[in-house]
Symmetry: C2
DNA sequence: CCTAAAGTGGAAGGGGTCTTCCGCAACAGT
DNA sequence: ACTGTTGCGGAAGACCCCTTCCACTTTAGG
């Protein structure tokens, strides 16, 4: 019979995850591991033993957020008003960097080997593609909008929030306003061509997330 | 009589500046100083002696680029077609991160104490304000566009080019397309209010650039 | 040429982060 | 309560970057 897992070990693991969510959210996923350990009230060794690589901790920390992201896309795609669904989803996505700096980084990083994360991301993208199709069919979204402009928007809004600050969060709402109006079907001036999605995603940041 | 400055010292200083322009342009202004020295073919001590702080080297390296930026704003403000001037200037600004990653950082950083840099930046902003006024008067630019959305645009485009790559450069041209169309006067949906410029600029990254 | 001064490069020191190691403490099962 | 095991925490080592220092080289001027 395998022994029952130790209660304190389980508790420590959860404390680390809670601390990671806090710290990553505030300062991004490249924050010193020692800071996470300190905030969790555990030693560095305990942190490392549970999550040998930074990517392991990141994956465990943001699994829920990524699932939530995909769920939000699903809900938006099911909205009875496709344009409202589109605006709502874009607004949600653009405000991610305000709420959670770490998750914004995760969304613009490809974690090779982190199945959970990548599966949810893909699901989110699929739902967004559906959403875009519906919004175009309704005549609200310009025809040359590409679902693959989404990472672009994420990178742009992430750039604005590089220095976390309330003033920039306010300013960012303006950027969202500009972008949404630019997405409206009433704009007919053609856009420059997009790069092949393949190249686009290859250009994002990569990290190998072993997940032991 | 003061001696004539040594020829090799002058040459080294110039080599350092050339190397810094290259390296900063490719990898940003936070690249290790040793890398700049290596590329310049000089020792670290030589670099440090000429530019005691990183900000000193940055200021010396990007003085010309900042002047060029202000000049471009002046030219745009003098364009006989204000809307063309506006679009041209925004396109120029948005492509800065593609051409020169370091300069993009400089543009979104306040260098306290670097007179040359700050003077030119201010001049650029003044000219941009003139440009905006003209474009609005011509009825081409939406009335609620604020000149202080410029740093916002800079941060956004800088975020897209975080990972330097040709595919993202192409994608970025799309972002520029979206933004310009959103700026057109034909868009009448009001934008969210902007933060007070004071708060906005206070939120940018700060570095003190002593300039010995 | 010769010399004093100016300039050079690399090595050593200090701070910070990541990783490994190991003696010790706490827990589950009896 | 006892015990074998599991997990803990901090210290030590490695690495990277910036800064300071100093013996040596190169230059300008006589």
């Amino acid at each position: 019979m395998s022994r029952q897992p130790r209660a304190d070990a389980v508790r420590n693991r959860e404390r680390v995850l809670a601390a990671a969510a806090e710290v990553f959210g505030e300062a991004g996923i490249d924050v010193p591991m020692s800071e996470v350990a300190r905030r969790a009230g555990v030693g560095i060794a305990t942190l490392i033993r549970n999550f040998p690589a930074r990517a392991d901790l990141v994956e465990a920390t943001f699994g829920a957020a990524m699932t939530d992201y995909a769920d939000t896309a699903t809900r938006a795609a099911a909205d009875s008003d496709p344009w409202a669904g589109f605006c709502g989803f874009i607004g949600y996505v653009c405000r991610i960097p305000q709420r959670d700096r770490g998750f914004a980084q995760v969304l613009t990083t490809m974690f090779t080997g982190a199945e959970l994360l990548e599966a949810q991301r893909q699901r989110g993208l699929r739902e967004f593609i559906r959403l875009v199709r519906r919004a175009k069919a309704a005549g609200a979204l310009r025809a040359d909008f590409s679902p693959h402009d989404l990472p672009l928007i994420l990178l742009a809004t992430g750039g604005v929030m590089r220095t976390q600050s309330p003033a920039l969060a306010t300013a960012q709402d303006r950027l969202i306003g500009y972008l949404l109006q630019a997405c409206a079907a009433s704009n007919t001036t053609p856009l420059p061509g997009a790069p092949p999605p393949r190249d686009l995603y290859a250009a994002l940041e990569f990290r190998r997330g072993g997940q032991s």
